[in-house]
């Protein structure tokens, strides 16, 4: 078998063996429905509440401020739409709302992908009901100044939602210092199972449920809880709490080894995102005059998994909107590749990737009619 190197940890991660161990009892003996009042139900509920407590402690918040969801996407939907719907309902009660649309103001980023808190301040209108931002963008990994933006939000009394799916368990987050009202975070990016995530909802944040049915999760999210998944999530957080600091250092070094190694051997390469305020394991590289997906495919044939920055789906190419917003020229942006490292990544993996990228890009450029003609 060929060597396999996975450098797509921002897309998903393998489940940690200890996490699998933590889930198994909830598939087996502790299989009850946590809403049931008998012993089978109580055993399941215990697993649920232990995980909730662990995650609440990790974030330094109260247990009942954590709601479990089915994924980062649902957390984002609940966080953003939950506030909008609630607000909408309030407005409708007040009969002050004519239509029902919400206006969205987008704030620009600089060349590193960083948002300027002053731009956020200027974008706030008297009727602004929510400020939302990604803590770190999943593609280039630039970490946003959430503390400063949180201060702006607080000054104006506007609820603040942060999508921390890519940062939770990788870098510290202080929801209090950052004045965060709502925080989305997920399991399958930190060696937990897919299909489970969480939303932190600061006490007092007014919001509506978006999934209706039973009275689960204190009426904030209906539906039988994914107990085994949540138990696994709790264990994954416990492990990250233990390993996070050391891993961040290790993985940052490997990431730099990767981009420097490629930069030294391949001409016309650039590294995207902020040079230092960046996710430990994320290296977004642009190869000029080469198309992203052909690199992904070429590396795939070498057993290497990386992700294409520009996605060509349903017959329309979409160069990463992040890179475009950062002002990366199109002939670079079309050749963006994201490498995201994780706990399984070794130095020899990095060297293997560098050794594989060089001839591949050379070959692709050799047959390219672009940039050479």
């Amino acid at each position: 078998m060929t060597r396999r190197v996975y450098l797509d940890h921002n897309a998903s991660t393998p489940v940690h063996p200890e996490v699998i161990e933590a889930m198994l009892p909830y598939f087996g003996e502790r299989f009850g429905n946590p809403s049931s009042i008998h012993g089978f139900g109580r055993e399941a509920r215990e697993g649920l509440e232990t995980a909730r407590e662990r995650i609440a402690n990790f974030l330094g918040v109260a247990k009942d401020e954590i709601v479990f969801t089915s994924g980062g996407t649902e957390s984002d939907n609940l966080g953003v739409r939950g506030v909008a719907i609630e607000h909408h309902a309030v407005l409708r009660t007040c009969e002050t709302l004519g239509g029902q649309g919400f206006a969205v103001t987008y704030v620009p980023v600089d060349e590193y992908g960083t948002v300027d808190p002053d731009d956020v301040r200027r974008a706030i209108r008297p009727d602004t009901i929510l400020i939302t931002i990604m803590h770190a963008n999943s593609e280039v990994g630039t970490i946003e100044p959430v503390e400063e933006i949180g201060r702006v939000a607080r000054e104006h009394g506007v609820p603040f939602h942060v999508d921390a799916v890519q940062t939770f368990g990788k870098i510290p987050i202080d929801v209090n210092a950052s004045g965060i009202n709502l925080l989305s975070f997920s399991s399958h990016k930190i060696y937990g199972p897919k299909g489970v995530a969480g939303l932190y909802i600061r006490k007092g944040t007014r919001m509506a449920a978006i999934q209706h049915g039973g009275e689960h999760e204190r009426r904030r999210r209906a539906g039988t809880e994914n107990v085994a998944g949540i138990a696994g999530f709790g264990k994954a957080v416990e492990i990250r709490e233990r390993d996070m600091a050391a891993e961040a250092i290790r993985v940052t070094a490997l990431r730099d080894r990767l981009s420097e190694g490629i930069g030294a051997r391949v001409p016309d390469v650039r590294v995207n995102g902020h040079p230092t305020r960046r996710l430990p394991g994320t290296a977004s590289l642009c190869f000029r005059h080469v198309e992203s997906e052909s690199i992904v495919l070429g590396l795939d044939l070498k057993g290497i998994g990386v992700s294409a920055g520009s996605a060509c789906t349903s017959g329309n190419v979409e160069p990463s909107y992040v890179l475009v917003a950062m002002g990366v020229p199109l002939d670079w942006a079309m050749g963006a590749v994201r490498c995201s490292l994780g706990r399984g990544t070794l130095a020899e993996d990095i060297d293997y990737v560098i050794d594989s990228v060089e001839p591949l890009v050379r070959k692709l450029r050799a047959v390219s009619p672009v940039g050479t003609a």
Partner: protein
Amino acid sequence: MVYSSRLIEHFRNPRNAGMMRNPDATGEGEYDKCGDLARFYLRVRDGRVVDVRFQTYGCGPTIAVASAGSELATGRPLDDLLRLDRDEVEQAVDGLPEERKHAADVVADAIRAAARDYVRRRV
């Protein structure tokens, strides 16, 4: 997206890739929405294509499809290539996934354009 093993083989070892000096004809195919581009070079003797070279830029499989297209064009009468069907090109890599069908269009377009260029130069 799952590619056929024949396509993968062409991707790994593209045949006839590169430029040609003083070709008898050249042609391009393009797919705007994707930025895909293929350029074909032909050497023609007695109405038959005796040598082909190509250059491509585009999402994954374009290079493989071009390689297969170049093999398919080699040795064929020029008249054939004027009417080259995109489906024949797609067949040469055992089919393409829905979102990548355009790779066969780009390559077939480029080969037909090169064939037309040869006719034009002769007239």
